[in-house]
């Protein structure tokens, strides 16, 4: 009897498409502002398009805010603060936060799909990271709400008032959770502005908040571009600003509020050093490097965008890294097997492309994955530049894309000096088998977060924030509470 012979020399096995279904999601054609518990049309009457960056097609229209909308939202937040939220027993506040957390879990799949459609990130990441972490933040801070008196021994914490919160487009729902959860737990009310390219999950969150029965005006969401953000920052009724975004805008915010007594926390850019020593577990370091720079297409403020490799292992590490990059699947964010999705917007695509051209012009050695690329939408291949000097612009400026600059070093002191030689100081990574080396580096690297033998790990219990031009103040953990409290 003849048996089918499977080709024994070379097998060509590829993964078939495995798209996540979008049939269960409910998106409106148009999204209005969420003010005082209701959806309100923008006073300008204007809307702008929200684009799916993987197809460059419109998925919904979003209200374009202006000063009138912001004023309305701030007044609603003030009223809710004075009359309801700041005087409610803390244990009652906690119940609402727990309810929101549970509702996010219940609707996790819908949020994940919309996050990927609107922002271009792979569904694996929105499903396994963004949405579960967002829920975890609400759960975590819900737990703190009625224990604030014990969080700061011998000090009496009080809520601040109305918080103006401006969030970026790289982790839309997660950043909303990072901002809203601690603010509410501490008894503040908020006016939140999502990034203009990724407003949809914030608006779905508004629907969820409405469903949760949260008192009107405790959370208000006004959509629009930077002008709306500027209106929030300069509004007299705002007591505290929390901003995550670019260092340039962070500086602008500081100037604007310089003559006021507004409190502020800023979480800004970064150009993190990921440092690999010759005694490191190399294969795991390669994973950490890939996770550090290609996670979320490199749209991560704490991305490990500068790789420092000890010179003795340079060749083998780069070879392993290149092989690993070749296995990354770039394409449809909705496919469950996609590792690297779409660049968030056309303008960001142009920025990153500009840096790649610059690197080539500077004469750096470039390596890009040979992967197939989608025809439409904004995609960039995972990119690696070697032979980069400390003085190269690619090693100095935040690219916010899947572009890694590789430098080499010889000694511990040299790499610490080079790693700290940047205006930023958000995060860093250290890879070594030797514990004492880890402690030496973690205490001497000027970065808010230092990961040892791992990278890009997030948890609501862990504070997150920067040194120098990466901002100040901490989000997450106990530290994240104090940003939303004042003390007598």
């Amino acid at each position: 009897m003849s048996k089918k012979k499977i080709e024994t020399e070379k097998m060509n096995w590829e993964y078939a498409a495995a798209p996540e279904s979008a049939s269960h999601i409910q998106l409106k054609e148009k999204y209005d502002h969420f003010i005082n518990g209701k959806f309100e049309k923008p006073s300008s009457g204007k809307y702008f398009d929200s684009i799916n960056p993987a197809t460059a097609k419109k998925i919904a229209a979003v209200a374009e805010g202006n000063s009138k909308d912001v004023d309305k939202a701030v007044k609603a937040a003030r009223k809710a603060y004075d009359n309801v939220w700041s005087v409610m027993p803390a244990s009652e506040r906690a119940k609402y936060l727990f309810r929101i957390a549970r509702l996010i879990q219940e609707k996790a799949r819908e949020f994940a799909v919309i996050e990927s459609l609107d922002g271009g990130k792979p569904i694996r990441e929105s499903r396994d990271i963004d949405i579960p972490l967002a829920a975890a933040h609400f759960f975590y801070y819900a737990g703190w709400a009625d224990k604030l008196d014990y969080a700061f021994p011998n000090r009496k914490p009080k809520s601040i008032g109305v918080a103006g919160q401006i969030i970026p487009w790289n982790f839309p729902l997660l950043m909303a959770a990072w901002k809203i959860a601690p603010a509410l737990a501490c008894g503040n009310t908020v006016v939140l502005k999502p990034a203009e390219t990724t407003s949809l999950t914030a608006m779905k969150l508004a629907e969820l908040i409405q469903e949760s029965g949260l008192p009107d005006g405790v959370v208000n969401i006004v959509t629009g571009d930077g002008k709306v953000g500027a209106e929030i920052v300069s509004h007299d009724g705002i007591d505290k600003i929390a901003f995550t975004g670019s260092t340039d805008v962070g500086k602008l915010i500081q100037k604007t509020i310089a003559k006021t007594d507004k409190k502020v926390t800023l979480e800004l850019g970064g150009k993190a050093a990921n440092i690999v020593f010759e005694d490191a577990p190399l294969d795991q370091a390669v994973e950490g490097i890939v996770n550090g720079i290609y996670f979320n297409q490199g749209h991560v403020c704490c991305a490990g965008s500068r790789l420092f490799v000890q010179e003795s292992i340079k060749d083998i590490l780069i070879k392993k890294l290149q092989d690993r990059i070749e296995t990354l699947i770039v394409g449809d964010p909705m496919d469950k097997n996609t590792d690297v999705g779409a660049i968030n917007s056309k303008s960001q695509w142009e920025t990153i492309q500009g840096y790649i051209e610059l690197g080539k012009k500077e004469g750096l050695e470039i390596f890009q994955s040979s992967c197939k690329m989608p025809k439409d939408g904004y995609f960039i291949k995972p990119t690696l530049f070697t032979k980069v000097a400390q003085s190269s612009r690619l090693a100095k400026e935040e690219i916010f894309g899947p572009v890694l600059a590789v430098q080499t070093f010889r000694t511990v002191d040299e790499v610490i000096e080079k790693a700290n030689n940047t205006p930023y100081g958000l995060s860093a990574g250290v890879w070594t088998d030797k514990g004492s080396k880890i402690f030496n580096l973690t205490s001497r690297l000027r970065a808010g977060i230092v990961w040892a033998n791992t990278y890009n790990q997030f948890d609501p219990t862990s504070p997150f924030g920067g040194y120098k031009e990466s901002g100040f103040g901490r989000e997450g953990g106990l530290h994240g509470l104090s940003a939303y409290l004042k003390f007598d």
């Binding site: 048996k3 089918k4 499977i6 097998m11 993964y15 577990p281 294969d283 795991q284 033998n453 791992t454």
Partner: protein
């Protein structure tokens, strides 16, 4: 022994970070393998199985029945491949050899005082010679774990090298590390390096005789050793996880791992095997499900 290659200092084998390995391992398990990819994978899995019986109560009849199954996995499903090999004790090699004659199915014999390896080397050598005389195509030897834990890496190395010499051109050598007794992933890595440099054609996780058998993190650690050796020498080494892999889904995750760490070139039974006794039937159920749309009763699939 591969003379042209410099033997490294095994006490300085590359370090492994367990947390990182587990994290990477979990990523393979989030890959979604569907439709034609799934069918292709299931057929590959069947063709990579070393169908195994290693019991004190093995008889000629039992081995003959298993050998028939190895060639006729499920004749109701046309065009299925055979398994890669049957794996038996040396006493059953002649029986198995006759039973699979002409089918392309290889006969593998466990050897070197399997499973413990706790005998003098002369006994191990005799065991191996007997299996080879009986016509074994593959030898699955165990390493001396006791000696490994005594730090006598050269002893372990030399045993493997000598068995490899006995195998000559007749048989390919699989070296069983018994990772459940070896210890941490650092040790798994070191033992893999010892086996590879001593001349293993395949490295294999387990005997199947102790509780802790193949796992994705352990296999991943071994695949990295194979990858490093390939990068250094250009020579391919095979991998055989054994024990504990009994579902199609898990087997497919192993294939995903091999593809992403070593590449498509390793996705044949020349370079990758599953040591398993019950995996084949689950794969057959899944294939029938893909073909007919419904799960069949297990009674339609023959045991053996």
């Amino acid at each position: 022994m591969k003379n042209s290659i410099q033997i490294p200092d095994f006490s300085r084998s590359p370090k492994v970070d367990q947390v990182g390995i587990i994290e990477r391992a979990s990523r393979f398990q989030t890959r979604s393998i569907k439709n034609e990819s799934k069918i292709q994978a299931l057929e590959m899995v069947l063709n990579m199985i070393d169908l195994t019986t290693l019991e004190g109560k093995d008889t000629i009849e039992k081995v003959n029945q298993m050998c028939y199954k190895a060639q006729h996995l499920h004749d109701d499903y046309p065009g299925l491949p055979t398994v890669a090999a049957v794996c038996v004790y040396s006493a059953m090699v002649a029986t198995a050899k006759a039973a699979v004659k002409g089918s392309g199915v290889k006969v593998a014999s466990v050897s070197t005082a399997f499973p413990s390896g706790q005998t003098p080397f002369s006994t191990k050598a005799d065991d191996t010679k007997f299996a080879l005389d009986q016509g074994a195509d593959e030898i699955d030897m165990v390493i001396s774990r006791g000696k490994y834990h005594q730090g006598e890496y050269n002893f372990v190395f030399d045993e493997i090298a000598k068995i490899k010499e006995l195998c000559g051109n007749q048989a390919r050598l699989k070296v069983i590390l018994e990772t459940g007794e070896i210890g941490t992933l650092d040790d798994v890595r070191r033992a893999s390096d010892i086996a590879i440099y001593a001349g293993a054609d395949f490295i294999k996780t387990s005997t199947g005789k102790i509780g802790s058998a193949a796992s994705i993190p352990v296999t991943l650690t071994m695949l990295y050793a194979i990858k490093d050796y390939y990068l250094k020498t250009g020579t391919m080494i095979g991998m055989k996880p054994a024990g504990g892999i009994s579902t199609s889904k898990l087997a497919i995750h192993y294939l995903v791992m091999v593809k992403e760490i070593l590449g498509n070139a390793w996705l044949t039974n020349k370079w990758f095997r599953f040591g398993a006794s019950s995996l084949a039937n689950d794969v057959l159920l899944q294939l029938e499900k893909q073909r007919t749309g419904g799960y069949q009763s297990k009674d339609y699939i023959s045991i053996d």
